[in-house]
């Protein structure tokens, strides 16, 4: 059964010379790091830097080509998650691994029921979980189905589950991505408790401020290798960012003052239901004017996706109106294709799931949604040479690297994919641009470029709606901020007047003055 701290010597976790290669690319190269007991260790790096691969190796999802893993100074072989759990390693994934119809107790005992008869094991588990919850400040309703819990509480169930399996080393992968600022603060409180109880916590994140707030040490990865290791209080956000990117970071985004023009998109009393008939968006009304960026903030899953879908014409609203340049779209049943023709462009939230076709080349992806435009076609035939040529042009203008139109889209980094999608959506000279999670899965270098590009488009008179779960991004980009919670817009504030605290309260559903 699990190995505890039980008086063993050595650091909680030590990695020696871990190597992992996919094809000719090193995902991890000569990784050695030490995580001490009773510490929170940050692991940061851009997308594709190899953080996830490394953690997957530690947790047994993948096996390393070379190298050693030592737990409490003892070499262990981790071929599968079961072995990792037995060695006292627990992992909280970004996407929770919980059975939604089960309670916290049932989820915790899943796989470790302890005997054929469930009742005895459940009773034991209940006592043990209550004890753990008290010890670490992880209060959750133990007997409520997980589906009824908030995201923050589900995350606590995941942590409890790991502790119940006697994890002494806890890996958290981007744990705050789905949390409100308030929930994130509470999580950090829990992590501090875990630290003081002697647990080792590895925090994988790309948010530098979290690293500064909670970790004791921080390891920086770039291109599969460790490029720096710091004692957190002896370093700075700037220094870490520079290490991550391998170059100095530009200053804050510069924006000329906003000069909003005519209303381009007007949404009134919109209601959207999902496939099960559950209302996901209710009573949403707002205007989007030429020359402004409106930021839609909110915790993931509060109706932003459905709102975007309805605006783009992919979902049919159950109530309300959307008018684009004065033309009503909902009652007239104007679909995505016609909306594009009317000047509505859409950079979707889920790039790989919706914005590109994974098996297609960059050039083929660069016409998605525009493939029947006259300049790409001659009768039913596609003008392949023109398509390829225009893709090369787009790649040059939008700094897509490598500038290889025939390369499969999945061979490009997330940032370069996103730049190509943005280039494509700008192609039809739209008047309104919907952008979902503009920099999700995009490396820092590309984030700057995409942000500058969006501001330039705003200044060129486009009306832009940016939906993002990254509050910093909203604060940096938007001229006006709307906050969504539970499918409704619960707050609106101009850029200069926005405070993170107020936005956080709105995101959490705590109503302040809001808007009328």
């Amino acid at each position: 059964m699990p190995a505890g701290a039980r008086g063993a010597s050595g650091p909680a976790l030590e990695l020696r010379g871990i190597e992992k290669r996919f094809g000719t690319v090193y995902a991890n190269r000569a990784i050695s790091m030490v995580v001490g007991r009773g510490s929170v260790h940050g692991l940061i790096g851009e997308n594709g830097a190899g953080k996830s691969t490394l953690m997957n190796i530690v947790y047994g999802f993948q096996s390393a080509d070379a190298g050693e893993i030592l737990v409490n100074g003892r070499a262990v072989v981790i071929g599968a998650p079961e072995a990792a759990i037995a060695a006292g390693i627990g992992m909280v994934h970004q996407h929770f691994m919980l059975v939604e119809t089960f309670t916290a107790v049932e989820n915790a005992v899943l796989g470790v029921e302890g005997g054929l008869q469930l009742a005895g094991g459940l009773a034991r588990a209940r006592r043990e979980l209550a004890r753990l919850a008290g010890e670490y400040g992880l209060e959750v309703p133990l007997e409520t189905p997980v589906a009824e819990l908030t995201v923050g509480l589900r995350q606590r169930v995941e942590i409890l589950k790991a502790l119940y399996r006697r994890a002494d080393i806890l890996i958290l992968d981007e744990p705050t991505a789905v949390l409100t600022p308030g929930e994130a603060t509470a999580l950090f409180g829990i992590l501090r408790r875990l630290r003081s109880e002697g647990k080792a916590v590895i925090l994988v994140t790309h948010k530098l401020r979290e690293i500064m707030a909670i970790t004791d040490r921080v390891t920086v990865m770039r291109q599969g290798a460790i490029v720096g290791e710091f004692v957190t209080r002896e370093t700075s956000v700037g220094a870490l960012a520079e290490k991550m990117m391998g170059r100095a970071v530009g200053g804050p985004l510069e924006k000329p003052p906003v000069r909003p023009g005519a209303t381009r998109l007007a949404v009134r009393d919109l209601e959207v239901r999902d496939g099960q008939g559950v209302v996901r968006v209710r009573r949403v009304s707002f205007d989007l004017r030429a020359g402004e960026i409106v930021g839609l903030a909110g915790v993931s899953g509060n109706g932003q996706t459905e709102l975007l879908g309805a605006l783009a014409g992919m979902l049919v609203p159950s109530k309300g109106t959307i008018s684009l340049g004065g033309r009503e779209l909902v009652a007239a049943k104007v679909g995505p294709r016609e909306r594009r023709r009317l000047g509505l462009a859409h950079v979707p939230e889920d790039r790989l799931g919706m914005g590109v076709v994974a098996g297609f080349s960059a050039a083929a992806n660069a016409i998605l949604g525009y493939h029947d435009r006259p300049r790409y076609t001659r009768g039913p035939l596609l003008r392949m040479a023109v398509i390829r040529e225009e893709c090369i042009q787009k790649m040059a203008v939008h700094d897509v690297r490598p500038a290889a139109p025939d390369l499969r889209i999945t061979a490009f980094s997330g940032g370069n994919q996103q730049k190509l999608v943005l280039a494509r959506e700008m192609d039809g000279e739209p008047s309104v641009l919907l952008v979902g999670q503009p920099t999700r899965g995009v490396d820092i270098g590309a984030i700057e470029f995409i942000h500058r590009r969006l501001v330039a488009l705003r200044d060129a008179g486009k009306a832009i709606l940016v939906v993002s779960v990254e509050l910093e991004e909203i604060l940096g980009l938007a001229d006006r901020i709307l906050v969504m919670n539970g499918g409704e817009i619960v707050g609106e504030v101009a850029r200069g007047e926005a405070t993170e605290a107020q936005l956080g309260l709105w995101m959490a559903g705590v109503s302040g003055e809001g808007r009328g």
């Binding site: 000719t24 799931g353 919706m354 076709v357 994974a358 493939h371 039913p380 035939l381 596609l382």
Partner: protein
Amino acid sequence: MSRPAALPRWAEWGLLPLINLGVALALAGGVVAVLGESPWVAVKLLVAGAFGSQEGIGYTLYYATNFIFTGLAVAVAYQAGLFNIGVEGQAYVGGLGVGLVALGWGEAHPLLVLPLAMLAGALGGAAWAWLPAWLQARRGSHIVITTIMFNFLASALVTYLLVNVLIKPGQQSPETREFGPGAMMPAMHEVLGAGGIAFAASPWNIAFGLALMAAVAVWVLIWRTRWGYAWRVAGENPTAAVYAGIAPARVIIGSMVISGALAGGLGLNELLGSQHRILIDFPGGAGFVGIAVALMGRNHPAGIIAAAVLFGGLYQGGAQLSFDLPRINRDMVVVIQGLVILICGALGDIFHAPLLAMLHLGGRVRRSATG
């Protein structure tokens, strides 16, 4: 990982199918050995029977013509993300159309009858595919289920017509009378003979050329037109298709109608080229072999032609095998063909991962040699 990592093209298109074929033949050889025959002799007989004589080649290509049409039919639907199991039934109904034209206008000039028969075959197949497509697009009935059912419906329909309506008066066997001279697809040995090239007689006819033209047309359609583009988007990523404003219903109906029309091509080869009458079960399972052909040919027209010739060879060589080796009867030949379908078609990707690993091993060796 949902999608296997990509192999280099030469491995994906050349090496992998060859490995599959090799394994299938080795297994078949095992079966032959168990029966007490020499696998080596059996393979030699099989290959010689299929490719060793002009007559053998003629028969091989005649069978291959059916498989090209049905393989293309399966591939077109597959590119749009649809699994058309109903090619057999579509070929049956399409062939009925071909046959009806041949019966009705068989005395007219071939240049009139043959285009008309082609049109009727395409329309019949397309109609039989359109119904399940419409049911999927409008009512959400799953196309795999409905096309399977439509195979049975086609079989019942043609049997009924043959037994009760089209049967040649005064005979027991449910067949129509022979087509008129205008409704004969010219045989290849006659065409070649007219050009001064002597070739042994076989049912190989100019429908083979039509099949090759259909393959080129399918390539253009799928990879060079905006319709094919829309179908491929819908096939690869249905969500992206909706995002791009591609209507799923139009993709389903459009691709299935073309798929069915291609299936109708089988009647040209089988009825006008060889049987010269409509008879019970003339598709003979070619619609199902088409699934294996499309899978093995990676749903690409060039691959489909190669796979169709291979399967044509298996049919022809297999017949030769059962003729020459008494211990290997027709059923054993079906087993051998089944093994090839199983390994090359259904389990076509089974050696993907090992091959990928092997090629990367090669990469490591190369790197350490240079570094």
